[in-house]
C-alpha cells in the first residue's frame, strides 16, 4: 500500500519534471492543425484559430513562451478574415519574440496589403 503510493508520487514527480522541461506551451496545436488540413472546413479552421489564441493565453498563465509561428499563423488567419490591425499586432509580436522572423513577417505583411 505504501509502496504503491510512493511509486505514484515518483511517477507524478517524474512526469511533472518532464513537463516543466519544455520551452513552450503547445496545447493541441498539432491536432487542430491536422484536422484543419485533413478536412478543410470553416469549422475546422475556426477550431484551429481558437486553439492558437488558447495557446497564447495558456502560455502566459503557465509562464511558458509562445512557440515559434503561433502568433504568425494567427496573424495570417486574421489577415484572411480581413482583420488587418489585429494581424499587424500579432505579426509584430512574432518579431519581438523571435527576431529571426523579421524578413518573412515583412513578406507576409506585403502580401496582406496587396
Amino acid at each position: 500500500m505504501n509502496f504503491k503510493y510512493l511509486s505514484m508520487i515518483l511517477v507524478a514527480i517524474a512526469l511533472s519534471g518532464c513537463a516543466s522541461k519544455t520551452l513552450y506551451h503547445w496545447g493541441n496545436y498539432s491536432d487542430t492543425l491536422y484536422a484543419s488540413i485533413k478536412e478543410p472546413t470553416a469549422e475546422s479552421r475556426a477550431k484551429h484559430k481558437a486553439e492558437l489564441s488558447n495557446i497564447i493565453a495558456k502560455a502566459e498563465q503557465k509562464k511558458k513562451k509562445v512557440p515559434p509561428g503561433i502568433y504568425f499563423e494567427l496573424a495570417t488567419l486574421e489577415a484572411n478574415d480581413g482583420n488587418k490591425e489585429k494581424a499587424k499586432e500579432y505579426f509584430s509580436k512574432e518579431i519581438s519574440l523571435f527576431p529571426e522572423s523579421k524578413k518573412y513577417v515583412e513578406l507576409a505583411l506585403k502580401e496582406m496589403e496587396s
Partner: protein
C-alpha cells in the same frame, strides 16, 4: 512461434545496444561551425503506402525542432506559399536552390525529409506502427548537409491484459483506431534528439560531447 519472436526481439535489442555511439560534435561538426538559428521545413517526399504520412509529418515536426531551440517558420504558411509557386510535393521542393530560402525568408537551413515507411503491423497479441524516415538539414549558405538522420521507429500498440482474446481485440482496435498524431510526434522527437540544440535551448553550444548518436543512422551525403 512466440519463442521465435522473442529470440528475434532479443537479437534486435542486443544489436541496438551494441550500435556504435558517437558524440554530436563528431557526427555533425558543421552544425557547431555554422550555428544555424532558423529552420524552414518543406513538404516531405512520401514513399510510404500511407497517404496521410506527409500531412502527419507536416503538422507535428515543428514542435521537436522548436523545443530543440530553433526558430521554425510556420509550416502551413510555407506549404501554402510553395503551393502558390506550383511546388506541391517534396520532390519539387528539392529542385529549388536552397539559397532562395535565405533570400525570401532569411532561413539559415532547410529540412528535407523522405518518408520511407509507415506501416501498421499485427502479430500474435501485439501490434505496432513502424515509421521509417530519412532527414537532411541543408545550410542555405553553403548548400552542405549539416545534419542528417535515417531511422526506423517502432511504436507499440499492443494490448497486454494477459487475457489472449481480450488482448487480440484491444490490440486490433487500438492499432486500427490509433490516433497517428501522437505517433508522428514520438517519431519526430526520437529523430530530432540527435540534433545539436539551437539558440533558444539552454544547452546551446554545450551539447557537443553528448554521446548518443548512433553512427549507422548518420548516413553519407547523397547515399
Amino acid at each position: 512461434m512466440f519463442k521465435f519472436f522473442l529470440s528475434v526481439l532479443f537479437i534486435v535489442i542486443l544489436s541496438g545496444c551494441q550500435s556504435t555511439k558517437i558524440t554530436k560534435e563528431e557526427a555533425f561538426p558543421k552544425m557547431y561551425q555554422e550555428k544555424p538559428t532558423s529552420i524552414l521545413v518543406v513538404p516531405a517526399i512520401n514513399n510510404t503506402t500511407a497517404a496521410d504520412a506527409a500531412e502527419l509529418y507536416a503538422t507535428t515536426i515543428a514542435r521537436p525542432l522548436a523545443e530543440a531551440g530553433y526558430y521554425v517558420f510556420s509550416v502551413p504558411y510555407i506549404e501554402h506559399f510553395l503551393q502558390r509557386e506550383g511546388i506541391v510535393d517534396g520532390k519539387q521542393a528539392r529542385s529549388i536552390p536552397v539559397s532562395k530560402f535565405k533570400e525570401l525568408f532569411d532561413a539559415d537551413a532547410v529540412l528535407f525529409v523522405t518518408l520511407n515507411s509507415w506501416d501498421t503491423n499485427y502479430y500474435v497479441t501485439g501490434g505496432d506502427v513502424t515509421v521509417g524516415a530519412r532527414f537532411e538539414l541543408v545550410s542555405t549558405q553553403t548548400q552542405d548537409v549539416i545534419w542528417q538522420y535515417d531511422d526506423v521507429v517502432v511504436h507499440n500498440t499492443s494490448g497486454n491484459s494477459g487475457n489472449l482474446i481480450a488482448d487480440l481485440i484491444s490490440t486490433a482496435i487500438a492499432t486500427a483506431l490509433v490516433d497517428y498524431v501522437p505517433i508522428a510526434h514520438i517519431v519526430n522527437q526520437r529523430i530530432v534528439n540527435s540534433m545539436p540544440v539551437g539558440k533558444y535551448h539552454q544547452r546551446h553550444n554545450s551539447d557537443g560531447k553528448d554521446k548518443g548518436v548512433i553512427a549507422s543512422k548518420v548516413t553519407q551525403t547523397g547515399s
